[in-house]
Symmetry: none
Subunit: 370 residues, 2 copies
DNA sequence: TGTATACATGAATCTCAGC
DNA sequence: GGCTGAGATTCATGTATAC
């Protein structure tokens, strides 16, 4: 793990520590555009009528304030807007946020996210495999919670480790509904009385998937409602830096102890499957320059189209010339075409994809860097 | 089916008919406190830009209809507020509403519901068994839509047929996540060209579950965005009265024809509603996420081969990385390999097959869903 | 007629480096 | 910031066609 601070202009980032106090004040004390990912599990005790605080941290009194539904929503909205604004200031331009909630608060959180300029990428449902049943039989078993994943703004280049998530899901694209058990058993932290240390401790599996999917090793992850520190624990295991903010001293103590006992995974284990987009580009012309394909040689497509290689690495067909992609797209009447997988050549009586040659070139590039 | 009107004071209720025109005006023309349930599938306000192509270059037929275009969130919010207000006036005191949407609009709808005085009872997730994938690999598969179920006000005595829903669910309490296929095949209505008659037709199984669960025979069900009339068709089958409102004449015609051909208690519809559950497929990655195996941990094979677990649920061996099956096959020089029975780990001095862990996960899933 | 293969399609905010 | 061009990217299901 790196040192405790990262310099960013004049300010320092208190990495891998738990900050005490109100999350809005704490976030405002940190340098802007310094965090890669925020995970937030904000309070949503709206309908319990009590223990709700205004943005200025004064407590709302249900009786004195003539509590009603409307005023309670207004107060909650103001609180939500304030912390989402502070969080957005902290995010790097290509950073992202995850917020988790239930039907009590998630609609207000989602609307505020949109109003504040975040760009929703997905809503993801955590489908609990072992939920608490609805004992009174008056409603459906509350068997899920909703998470919203959003980038700082529209058009941002957010991190999404598509291949790693696909690998986690046994080769099938990861869906927006995740089946995971609730946090219990040995993972559930207990206080000295043997009671649960925190009412809504999130399972580490949830954070594992979020952090593997939307951060890279070395990224900075901030959790403004740290609780017992699940975010910090999983971030440490996965080689990400983390910052927690928590108001309650009892939670901070439990979290600190918990994270101290966590080990980081081996560096090798943190390497995940990568996309082809991350591979170095190989110009087709290089295959010609290197003599892997001869100018004048004929390439064929699975659909039986034909083109000839020219000395400058372009192709020429019956009535078209251009790059391997352009000629392929034209011959197929398609909007685009990946020429690397489309075109084939003959060697020793066999038809071979030109992509095999690209892979050879790439393999040599790797060899040379060792 | 009863007569076409129900007297309610001086006004009459146009039962089992489709009203033409704007839904807000039409609702305002109906008597207040006269409807038992409202099901609404409002425009989602998708903001699609260019065309989208599948990897095979075919073009996706997008929802680009004029009725889904709104110039801003403010305009969409005003529209939402107006129709929810009109709808609430129509509801009997113990009536309820269901609204369906996606992340584009559902947060705004949910917040407006709360602001207008509705009381949210559950959010229910429709998990699509066969969603359209994310073709560019940039986000999670959009595999669900969200429905909000709300009573007219807090404390209302809404209808909830707990036992009927439990029976639909093979004797287990119905959860807040429903697995149902999207509407296609014979159920999907086509126009005279053979194209889909409506871009977003909902499956009858969804409405079946909603109406069985939250109405009684003889209740009045209103749908202000009637489309091709799924709500009316299922209401008729189930012996509920219905009122549809639809602005587009083409949709009204399709809906009228469809409902005319429906018989009460249609066997086929009941069949649809009890569609099969998700198979308990367990990706290897889930064992890692859930902490049953640790990234960096070594797995062994009966033949003495070795590989290490990575954070994304892939394995890495001496000169190979990939899924448990791929790495096993490569190390054995075999065309294929069942990684579940091939790989083993050590616990308490013993060598255990990873398949034991899969069986543990499966046992938990089966326990809760059957 | 039965089986195997090919094709079509679904509420979608779906690329990115380099100039 | 805008433009150009390389080149990466899909799962489940129903229907049509081929053999």
């Amino acid at each position: 793990m790196r040192t405790m601070t990262k310099k960013k202009g004049a300010s320092a980032l208190p990495l891998n520590t738990i900050l005490a106090g109100d999350c809005i004040e704490a976030m405002n004390s940190l340098p802007e555009a310094s965090v890669d990912l925020i995970f937030a599990d904000p309070p949503y005790n709206l309908q319990l009528k009590g223990d709700l605080h205004r943005p200025d941290n004064s407590r709302v009194d249900a009786v004195d304030d003539h509590w009603d539904q409307f005023s309670s929503f207004a107060v909650y909205d103001a609180f939500t807007k304030a912390w989402l604004k502070a969080a957005r200031r902290l995010l790097k331009p290509d950073g992202a946020i995850w917020v988790i909630g239930s039907y009590h608060n998630i609609f207000r959180v989602g609307a505020t996210l949109q109003d504040e300029g975040y760009w929703i990428l997905n809503d993801v449902v955590w489908r609990k495999s072992n939920p608490m049943p609805n004992f009174r039989g008056k409603r459906f078993t509350n068997a899920h919670e909703t998470m919203i994943w959003a980038s700082k703004s529209e058009g941002a280049k957010y991190t999404f480790n598509y291949e790693a998530l696909k690998a986690l899901n046994e080769g099938i694209q990861m869906r927006s509904d995740w089946v995971l058990p609730i946090c219990n058993g040995g993972e559930r932290l207990k206080d000295s009385n043997g009671d649960k240390a925190h009412p809504t401790q999130k399972p580490e599996g949830l954070l594992h998937r979020i952090l593997v999917g939307s951060t890279n090793p070395g990224d900075v992850v901030l959790d403004p409602f740290f609780g017992t520190g699940t975010t910090g624990a999983v971030a440490k295991m996965l080689g990400r830096d983390w910052i927690g903010i928590e108001r309650e001293e009892a939670y901070r103590e439990v979290a600190a102890r918990r994270i101290a006992s966590v080990r980081k995974y081996d560096r090798e284990a943190l390497q995940v499957s990568t996309s082809k987009r991350a591979e170095p580009r190989v110009p087709f012309g290089q295959l010609v320059e290197r003599g892997m394909l001869r100018p004048g040689e004929t390439l064929t497509s699975p659909s039986g189209k034909i083109a000839k290689v020219r000395a400058d690495g372009t192709l020429i067909g019956d009535d078209v010339k251009g790059s391997i992609h352009q000629v392929g797209a034209h011959l197929e009447g398609a909007p685009s075409c990946n020429g690397w997988t489309y075109w084939h050549f003959r060697r020793e009586g066999k038809t071979v994809s030109i992509d095999v040659l690209r892979q050879q070139v790439r393999a040599e590039m790797v060899e040379r860097t060792h």
